[in-house]
């Protein structure tokens, strides 16, 4: 059993599943020489023409640029810059319809050519003497992206670190109508081979396989002649079948290897480059000629001169069509790309970009609109035609049902969107469109899932941060409180509040101790004694001063009964008043107000009478006083009452005197107030 390499060397070819045979219609352009397009009035250069991110603008509006001057620069490896296709002035940096099926506006640099076609200084590289990194930088700086259709940055593919067994040059060009690569191979086979040489230097493969469909005999002969000096370059003619130019299909055709789902050819030691890319690499490295033009097939039966043209990047499609004698029909559609994988342009101002290989302007009979979509009849032609061995019917059901899990289970991601299934479908179901919608939905969903993940992480991080801040604040407050306490203790200054509290407590305790009955009695006895002495003194002096008053008091003492009655009345009054008083003055200490009551109980009868009267007076006084001055101590105001209510036996006289005094005092107090 010969090894794979031996089989490849022996010229073995394999086959891939499915595929279709649409009419190729390439002869109307492939046999003609490549025409040069006149300079258009305006060039519209989208800043992003590849898969990846747009570069940073390095020019401003109004600036004059030279041919080949970079208009954007790369700040990371996913950027491929764009260059001025001719010398001229930047007249605007604006939004313009993009060469994309969505036709959404994209940032575009508008260049007005000055006709001088003046080159920037160029520095060709000597690939023998320079290292791979320099070559790769040159490839990136000269804006080379895959020219087969996807536009993957070439420097990334050519700079793989994985070991490469086979470098495959894709010159199949399987899609109907398109003959741009065919024309290029016929005109510049030696430059292409030089480009392959550079790619070989970068990748160092065991063998180079050049795949060409066998309906391009001139190109095959030209390439075979150009490759004759290289012994590990093999030109392989593959039978005409669509889509043998698909990356995975061509790998299977030439090496019988299958790229696993979700992996890239590099993972199985294969790198594939388009033949146009090889040409562009040769130009970029050997001539320092950036990717500023490409060959575009302009074809279709509405054109008088369908042909391949050298078009500057940024040339509006209308300029290409006019050059080829475009005679538009009613409801004319113009397709960018081939009839199988291309898309209809919304208007003809869309520019040619690095990946544009064909402009197709067919007549309505040549390429009619799809008929109405009918129901699937389960004929399974699509499954037979699918080059990726998928199950298009199942995918259709799940796409319609938006069952994304099932779609992924049925490997929708492996669909290359070649359109073979839709081509064979007898019900004219636009299967690919359903898959594209479903793919976009899945991508959107994945993007959202990723975003949700990030949002969740940020939300949780924020919560954690807030919690940590809260804890830190708490801890700091506690620490500060502790520090303050310590500082106070150290400075000897005791807590003022605590001190005040202890003082109050001791006072209260003292107060409570005073209130024991014996003490109260003793105190009261003492006060009575003092008052008695005072009264005696006063009485003595009063007798001396006013004998009439003494007589009066004598009358009073004789009428003790009357006095008792009066006293009783007075007491009743006093009680009433007291009740009123306690209601009025809530602040008055209850024990204090009761004290007089106690004293009365102790006093003998007559004393009680006098005392009651006196107290009544005092109460009146107090009432007047307390309403005015709430802070006045009740016990103080009552003291006079106590003083007066002291007399024992002969109290009647004293009581009368006291009453008089009290009346006087009241009058005096009232007068004062």
């Amino acid at each position: 059993m010969p090894s794979l390499f031996q089989q490849i060397q022996a010229g073995a070819l394999w086959d891939f599943h499915g595929g279709v045979h649409p009419p190729v219609r390439k002869t109307q352009t492939s046999s003609k020489p490549i025409a040069n397009l006149p300079l258009p009035d305006r060039l519209y250069l989208p800043v992003r023409q590849h898969i990846g991110v747009a570069g940073q603008l390095s020019i401003t509006t109004g600036e004059r640029v030279l041919k080949g001057q970079a208009l954007t620069f790369a700040d990371n490896s996913m950027v491929v810059p764009v260059h001025a296709p001719t010398s001229g002035t930047i007249i605007a940096i604006t939004e313009h319809t993009s060469p994309h099926p969505s036709a959404l506006p994209e940032t575009v640099i508008v260049l007005e050519p000055d006709g001088a076609d003046e080159w920037r200084p160029r520095q060709p590289l000597n690939i023998v003497s320079c290292d791979n990194q320099t070559i790769l930088e040159r490839i990136q700086d000269n804006g080379i992206a895959g020219m087969g259709g996807a536009g993957f940055p070439t420097h990334l593919k050519a700079g793989m670190s994985q070991p490469v067994d086979y470098l495959i040059i894709n010159a199949v060009e399987c899609e109907p109508y398109i003959s741009a690569d065919d024309a290029l191979m016929q005109e510049a086979p030696t430059t292409i081979v030089k480009g392959i040489d550079i790619l070989c230097k970068l990748l160092n493969p065991k063998a180079v396989l050049i795949g060409i469909e066998d309906d391009k005999p001139i190109a095959i002969a030209a390439l075979k002649a150009a490759c004759s000096q290289r012994e590990h370059y093999y030109v392989r003619e593959v039978p005409v079948k669509y889509p043998s130019g698909g990356e995975k299909q061509l790998i299977q055709l030439l090496t019988n290897k299958e790229v696993p789902a979700g992996r890239r050819p590099a993972d199985i030691g294969i790198v594939m480059q388009n033949v146009g890319t090889a040409f562009a690499v040769a130009q970029a490295v050997l001539d320092d000629h950036p990717l500023i033009s490409r060959i575009v097939t302009v074809t279709g039966e509405t054109l008088v001169h369908p042909q391949n043209v050298h078009a500057l990047i940024g040339t509006p499609v209308a300029a290409l069509l006019d050059f080829c004698g475009f005679q538009a029909e009613q409801r004319q559609k113009v397709i960018m790309g081939g009839p199988m994988m291309g898309f209809t342009l919304p208007d003809l101002s869309v520019p040619v970009v690095k990946t544009t290989n064909c402009i197709l302007a067919p007549t309505a009979t040549e390429l009619p609109d799809a008929g109405p979509e009918l129901d699937c009849i389960r004929c399974s032609s699509c499954a037979d035609a699918c080059p990726a061995t998928l199950l298009p019917q199942q995918l259709l059901w799940y796409s319609k049902a938006k069952d994304h899990d099932k779609l992924q289970e049925y490997n929708l991601a492996d669909c290359i969107e070649c359109g073979a299934c839709a081509y064979v479908c007898p019900s004219e179901i636009p299967l690919v469109q359903y898959y594209r919608i479903a793919k976009a939905d899945i991508r959107e969903q994945q993007r959202e899932a990723l975003k949700a993940e990030q949002a969740k992480a940020r939300f949780e991080a924020r919560n954690a941060r807030l919690e940590a801040e809260k804890q830190a604040r708490l801890a700091r407050n506690q620490q500060l409180a502790a520090a303050r306490e310590q500082a106070q203790q150290q400075s000897g200054a005791t807590n003022a509040v605590a001190d005040a509290l202890t003082r109050i407590k001791t006072k209260q305790a003292e107060h409570a101790a005073e209130k024991t009955r014996e003490q109260i009695l003793a105190e009261r006895e003492q006060k009575k004694q003092q008052a008695r002495d005072y009264q005696a003194q006063k009485a003595a002096s009063a007798k001396q001063d006013e004998p009439t008053q003494g007589a009066l008091s004598a009358d009073d003492s004789s009428a003790t009964k009357n006095a008792a009655v009066a006293a009783a009345i007075a007491r009743a009054k006093a009680k009433k008043e007291q009740a009123a008083l306690t209601a009025d003055t809530a602040t008055t200490n209850a024990s204090d107000t009761e004290q007089p009551g106690n004293s009365e109980a102790i006093d003998p009868r007559q004393a009680a009478v006098a005392a009651a009267i006196a107290r009544a007076k005092a109460k009146k006084e107090q009432a007047a006083l307390t309403t005015d001055t709430a802070t006045t101590n009740a016990s103080d105001t009552e003291q006079p009452g106590n003083n007066e209510a002291i007399d024992p036996r002969q109290a009647a006289v004293a009581a009368a005197i006291a009453r008089a005094k009290a009346r006087k005092a009241t009058a005096k107090l009232e007068g004062e107030e």
Partner: protein, 183 residues
Amino acid sequence: MTLITALLALGVLALLFGALLGYSAIRFKVESDPLVEQIDDILPQTQCGQCGYPGCRPYAEAIANGDDINKCPPGGEATIKKLAELMGVEAKPLNAAQEPAVKRVAFIREDECIGCTKCIQACPVDAILGASKLMHTVIAEECTGCDLCVEPCPVDCIDMIPIPVTPERWKWDLQAIPVKLVE
């Protein structure tokens, strides 16, 4: 005698296997995702609080405790469907009347911003940058479009603007490309 031997043998075997099963149940236990985690994974993580809970996780906990599954406007019908599947309940129509048809992000009109930091405090995902008395701005990439910053702004300088459709985000349009050829 044979009867007893058989019973004994079977009993011993039963014990042995029981012990083996018991051991392997503990030793080889498969850590299943707790329910709350699973629900939380389905929720869109906008942290918008439109469900009435402060964030997606609290709502996930509430659902696990039996709350309705139809309170998440940003998630829409798709989320409800998934939740219904997970919880084994009937999918209900969305509770809130308004469902944002387009994804939006907050945008601060920067010359009107007074730098009060109120929106920064309101943002559940820390997507607003700025400092006191300095202009604030929204990191559009991180914004979940939850609207929570709009209300606190004292000068009403925050707009919710729809995310523009780019070619990358664009969804294919049926009938855009004719694929049929005439022989």
